[in-house]
Amino acid sequence: MDPVVPPFVPVLLAAVLLPVVGRRAGHAFGVLATAAVVPYVWLVPEGAYFPVQLFGFDAYLFYVDAFSQMMGLAMGIIGAAGTLYSYASEADAYQTAFALGYVGTSLGAVFGGDWLTLIFFWELMAVTSTLLVWHHGGLAVRAGFRYALAHGISGTLLLAAIVWHFVETGTFLFAGVPGGPATAGMAGSVAPLLAVLGIGVNGGFVGLHAWIPDTYPRPHFAASVFLSVFTTKTAVYGMFRAFPDGHLAVAYMGGAMAVFGATMALLQNDMRRLLSYHIQSQAGYMVAGVGLSGTLATAGAFGHVFNNFLYKSLLFMCVGVVIYRTGEESLKKVGGLARKMPVTALAFFVAAFSIAGFPGFNGFVSKGMVIGAAHYKHLDVLWYVLLAGGVGTALSFIKLGYHAFLHGEYDGEVRDANWGQGAAMLSVAALCVLFGYPAAMYAVIPGGAELDFVVFTVGHLQEGFGLVGLGLVGFAVLKKPLKKVGRVPDVDRAYNPLTFYATRYVVVGVTELYAAVDRVVVRAADATAAVVTAPGAAAGRLVGEDGVSLRADTSASILLVVVAVAVALVLVL
């Protein structure tokens, strides 16, 4: 089919209409608008559509290639499921409107055919997601400020990179777009450096990641479903656009993220905070795939992006239902919910098996591709690191599942997910299983058709079962010590106060400087006023007397006249 409008248009329209038309109709429209994106982007042939002039530069609002198409599919599915889930979870109309605005701007970012469109929507994503966080109020407000600050820095760095890139190449367009440059990716020497930092903030690079676990546990649990997938995955997509040929350093950073995120997750008791660290860990696999580059690694990275959209949002939905029904955020306060919440438990275990990379679920396929790519390139360190991250993932989900759903008893009446939440969760869970079949996966991911990667080999299966097995063993060993772990500090423990005090000193410094300048100016003004209002006294101070009469008496007047005549005569003669 031919493209009709850029995909973000109906979604943003739904976002604008939602608060107006009423909660029920608005959510229905939101589900339809986002769901419609799925067949729409699937059926539109590859190419760049809707050329426009954005701020006076050439830009394309709808660029379809295998990568953006896959992103669009995932965003459409999760947008629809998330909107349905929000409706069922009593999210108010404004919250879902902000969420749909966030979905729409994310669609705008991934379907932009140029850096300008991308950064434009990138910044709007930061705005809409901040509003989504803020809307919840309470603790979310301060976290929202820190979130906005992080994304402001990210956007600024990326913008600087894009401007630098423009200076090098003379265009904002991507390489695949008509009129675009010959080579893809960020050009020059400085632009890539700025881009990797800017995108790295959004992607959750180790050290730049603290905003993820800081922010995502705090807003409404339905809001977390959206937040958990759109920003970080769009960042991975942006990373690929900036570095289509990869970079080894980026690959190693991915490995570090995988291990660091999984380890930190293991130490958490707040359910959503635990999941938030897994966002970083999972993004690590994707970043590693992008960094490794090559057909298999890139396909693995994007496959993992796609799968992550499914299971990560599903995990947040399941935890959301637990929070919704019990009002508890901490693992220590819940337990044995599987018997009371079978639907939720089912969905959770599907998602957990997916994220842990258990054979038969979608995570197994894509994670296996990334790990396999590292193996084939003989990057043994990276390979072991990624495997270790897999063990940590398995371990932490066993912990989460065990404490929330299996171990112990929960006192009190608990109902299962309501029909809307159940429908959303089960459909996404079904997709997790469906894409566990390599053929289905390969149909969606970029370059999937040409892949000769066999998923179900003995080695891979050993790997998959082995990771989960090691996880089980590890959990058995670590169960006791893990219980005693309190809140583990992250890097933000250091830089939050640092930023706070630095800002404070800057503000105090500026204020003091202003005051100093002000004092000087006021003194100068006072002195001027004194001279002007009493020139005689001022002149007197100069000569050391009480005051001098500056009024010319008659003789002085005549003297002045004589001098004036003399001057005039000298001048003209």
């Binding site: 002007v532 008659t554 007047s557 005549i558 006249v561 004036a564 005039a568 001048l571 003209v572 003669l573």
Partner: protein
Amino acid sequence: MSDLVALAVAVPIFGSLAALVAGLVRSESGWPVAVVACVAQVAIAARLAATAFGDGTITYVVGGFEAPYGIELLVDGLAATMLGLIAVVSLGVLAYARRAGPRSNPFYAVYLLLVAGLTGMSVTADLFNMYVFLEITGLAAYALVASGDRGRSAVAALKYLLVGTVGASLFLLGVGYAYIDTGTLNMADLATKLGDADPTLVHAAFAFIVVGLFIKVAVFPLHTWQPDAYAGAPDSVAALVSALVSTVAAYALLRVVYTVFGVGFLANNELAHAILVGGATVSIVAGSLLAVSQSEVKRMLAYSSVSQFGLVVAAIAIGNVTALMGAVVHLVGHAIMKGGLFLTAGLVATETGARRVEEFDGLVRRSPVGAGAFGVLAVAMVGVPPTVGFAGKWYIAVGAAESGSWALLAVIVGSTLLTLAYFARLVERMFFREPSDDLEPAIEAVADGGEAPGASLGMRATVVAAAVAAVALGLAVFGYSQHLQPTIEVLLS
């Protein structure tokens, strides 16, 4: 018809004599005589102006001695403007002086003599004759300043007399130098003969005449007589002198520079031009700064005049059609505004006793008419559209831009800010502050020693009329400038 020109000079002289004689019959009978003379003067000026603007320049040869030997009188658009201004202002001040005084017959005799001198300066086309009228004007002005009964008036008048006489003498010296080589005193005749004269004599004549007139105009630093004279004189005298005497002196400067010496002289003598530019610039800046530093309102107004006449001299120095148009408009506008401001200051002093800047706090409650008129006139003086103050400055600034005198343009535009500096603080005090303490209305004893009662309707009406005129004239400037343009083009040819 052209006898009217002679009558314009003769009527005030006869009026002056009549006022003196009437005083022998009945004391305090000078005012009606002066009113009759001034009304007649307004009628004559109106008739002459209508003819001058309608049919062109009027010339009259006194006593039948043909020019260049006899004395020629000439009324072009410029002179007609001055005639009208002198007649209207002197009549307006009379309306104020009815109650405010002074009231003696000699005062009104001298008053009319001043009008005669000013009128003569405006209409004469003879350089020596101009000196004669300059002296008449000067002597009358000294006497008027001295009509205040305080010692301060007498001292101010003496200073004015000494400095002013030196100025007039310098003017006469200049005229003499011009006469030596050309043997003529008629302005038009001089203009043709000066070209072939000894340059040293011509230059000396220019220097003496310009410095002499600078004293009369009160250009910094030759202004020293002026603040004392204005502040020391009775309010009605201060208004009349500030509105007309320097104005006509500036007119004389314009006349002498362009009719006698001509555009070519300035173009060929950079340094002669520099004297005008320098005097203007220094006057604008120094006058404003000195005005800011004054604490007595009348002295502040006096220094304001130093600055405003700097603007006029600047326009004369620029010397293109637009700038000279601005000079004339600003001369008229300044006369109305400054005369009005002095009268308002007098009205305020009569009603509330406030004569110093700090006493103007919250004036609007105590003297609403005075504060209102003062505010309007101050705003007009700053040059806010559509007042006449704006029109004059606008023409001068445009003229400066046309001639490419960017430094002068900066000073002219800056002068608006400086003007704002000294008027804004008064406006702020009058309208936005609480009155500090009640001042007793200071009854200023007039020259005759009579107890001056409170403000009269005539005083208030004059003040309000000045404020209305300051705004209304601004609207009339465009039509007027079209009528004046031919005169200025002739002047510059």
